[in-house]
Symmetry: C2
Subunit: 441 residues, 2 copies
């Protein structure tokens, strides 16, 4: 390979973040090689590894729009205008996400979106995609990656100028960076796990539940949710404790499962013909939050997406935050030209505080989704927040709105929400005092 052809960037992982970043790099004229463990999605059906569908929101859409891919992706996405709450007796309550359809989420297929991004990356001449190549090592001294060919089982070493770890929560690239001195790292598991279940389409692909909603069955300590798919089916996800009296460990037989679901989710059971088998055969996935620092190794390696900040899925921001990483990293690379170290440092400085804030908010939102969304007090607060947002659209933005429907950095959004709420509380307290004063006068 001549010097001219050697890639500047070697991306490990052709998941959603890796391929999107490749498109940004390709657009900027960089030479990039991508390596992916799985087979080429253009020629092979994708295995069911992770969640089937995802909620796409403004941060993700912005990145896709940057690259001219938003229209194509949104055409095959399903608009979700709000939450549909299913009570224990089967009553339905709809809570809109925002003031109109500009404040809504989109349910997209992970496999479909990944294929779109791979096709988009393949259109750039300076990008080369290599599938069936598992990265099994990264030598931080020589900056070489080790690749295992999944077909021939041959192992090769590849010298890289800049390695980009886009290889997910259990990143091989990060695991080697972790061996550096004073590398901060954390992996925190929730005591809950998740299991995917299915509500198939009705006759003629009819949706058996409201199509344009994210469905939630909040049950206090646990919950089930369902997102619509293009084919009329819904993918349900049960979030449940691993251990204890009501837990994955406690339900052993088909009869146990059916009895429990009929008790807890009476309106869903008739729509789930393969419930018991799915429950007993589908894997139970862990819910992990991963944080680390630094995100880069001088100007030689850098992490994006789950590899540096895996979050739990309760704000639907994992993919959106990863796409925002790509937008910011692309801006930093442009700003710092080929001073890679400066570019990566600036990227980390702009992202780290924000993804740390996001990680904490995602864990908090699990409690909100599984417990509070069912309560009257919560509904009242949500209504008040939306009212204030309508009255003062430029001043008052609910935290959820800022996270899902704006590109305000997460940490700044949290600070602004706290300030707004303090001011609202102070105004309310002053009004009470004023009334008291007038009454006593």
């Amino acid at each position: 390979m001549s010097g001219q052809e050697a890639p500047q960037f070697t991306i490990v992982g052709c998941g959603l973040a890796g391929t999107l970043l490749a498109c940004y790099l390709g657009r900027a004229g960089h030479r990039v090689d991508l390596y992916e463990r799985r087979p080429d999605p253009r020629t092979h059906a994708q295995d069911r590894g992770r969640s089937i569908n995802l909620a796409l929101s403004v941060r993700g859409i912005h990145a896709l729009r940057d690259l001219g891919l938003a229209d194509e992706v949104l055409r095959s996405a399903i608009l979700m205008r709000g939450r549909m709450i299913h009570s224990a007796t089967g009553e339905l309550t709809f809570q809109p996400y925002g003031k109109d359809d500009s404040e809504a989420l989109y349910s997209v297929s992970r496999a479909g979106l990944n294929l779109t991004l791979v096709q988009a990356a393949a259109r750039h001449e300076s990008l080369r995609l290599h599938f069936g190549q598992r990265c099994t090592g990264f030598d931080v001294r020589s900056n070489a990656i080790e690749l295992h060919d999944e077909t021939t089982h041959q192992v090769s070493q590849l010298a890289a100028q800049i390695v980009i770890g886009a290889d997910g929560a259990y990143s091989t690239v990060r695991s080697q960076m972790q061996k550096q001195e004073r590398f901060s790292y954390s992996q925190e598991y929730l005591s809950h796990g998740y299991k995917e279940l299915t509500i198939p389409a009705g006759p003629d692909g009819a949706f058996r539940l409201e199509k344009h909603a994210l469905h939630i069955w909040p049950r206090g300590n646990f919950m089930m949710i369902a997102l619509p798919n293009q084919d009329g089916s819904f993918t349900c996800t049960l979030f449940w404790p691993y251990e204890g009296p009501n837990s994955f460990a406690a339900l052993r037989t088909e009869a146990d499962v059916l009895a429990y679901f009929r008790d807890q989710f009476p309106d869903a059971v008739p729509l789930m013909p393969t419930l018991a088998q799915d429950f007993l055969h589908n894997p139970t996935g862990p819910l992990v939050t991963i944080r680390c620092q630094p995100w880069h190794l001088d100007g030689r390696a850098v992490l994006i997406g789950d590899a540096c900040h895996a979050v739990v899925p309760f704000l639907g921001q994992g993919m959106n935050a990863a796409f925002e990483d790509c937008t910011v990293l692309s801006e930093c690379l442009k700003q710092h030209a080929s001073r890679w170290d400066d570019a990566f440092r600036s990227y980390e400085a702009r992202r780290k505080e924000n993804t740390d804030t996001l990680a904490a908010l995602c864990v908090e939102n699990f409690v909100e989704m599984r417990d509070k969304v069912g309560s009257k007090a919560f509904l009242l607060r949500k209504k008040l927040a939306i009212l204030l947002h309508r009255l003062f659209p430029h001043w008052y933005l609910p935290l959820y709105t800022m996270i899902e429907f704006t590109r305000i950095p997460y940490a700044q959004a949290l600070r602004r929400a706290r300030k707004q709420n303090l001011i609202v509380a102070l105004i309310a307290a002053s009004l009470v005092l004023l009334l008291l004063f007038l009454a006593l006068r």
Copy 2:
């Protein structure tokens, strides 16, 4: 070895926590084997591995008293009644820790205390101490530990009934437990490191600074502290950034060091004849917070002290919290008889929330010590807190007082402090309103 003689507990690490727990276990009649990498402190001078002296407070003293060791330890300790603040111009301000000498810290020698504990452990017939044996592995399936003999370099495997990991922040026992599924783990490094320096004794072992104080040179982004030793010397610790304009990376020559110290610590430099050499030759240590969960593996292994919750040293609670672990674990073992799994579960439930709270408070207190202790507003708040504590000794306890001078669990102490402060703020606000109302009437 006959069944009767086989030890129930195998403690890895004869540091402060391991030997103290051994004394508790020995007192309860358990058979225990202890393994330690370093040579026997009864026959060898101890190497300078970690900090030279430590602040002992109520939680630690309680554990020592439980075992009849408190009087012996306190006889060779130095009472520290408060903080002595050294300003940039060399002015001194003394801030007492509490209302009297019952609320004070003790400076103890790590080596001296370790020797006392090893001697106490050796007095129990059911305990066997093995030195010069480095634990290099722990097989979580067979519950065997691997030992490396530091003299003969032979490696042996040892089947253990229950393994107790008391092997510090970089615990080998924990590192194997970490490979279990869904093990939560975090290591967070501060961007500061620490370096130990010395103020030798004056003529005839005279103390060159106030003997009964913990000295602090707060300088905003960094600080130096000094604790007294029995021989009249002080051990100083500089907490300083690793990188940046004023950092360990920036001072390269003896002249640099002297110039910088003369500028920042003018009153200390004349007392530090070996400053420049010490600075350039002594190692720079990292400041790490370690958290993990679970702390035990069924009823077969359990962690104590830094192995499960290393904290940064800014509340002087690392050793005290480790000793409290031993007190609580000993209580749980007694309560649950030989149902080890229950005992360890109960121990973790009682400790985890508290050591998590402590870890966060220690990081926060670094900012207080290096920055706020020098300010007038801080002094005023401290004085108000001590006044409230004098006026309402049973109701109002400052957070620092609860941490250092009571055995109130750390998390409960933090909740109580927040509640107290809220009530004080509400009373103050009501008084202002009342005055306002009277004035307007």
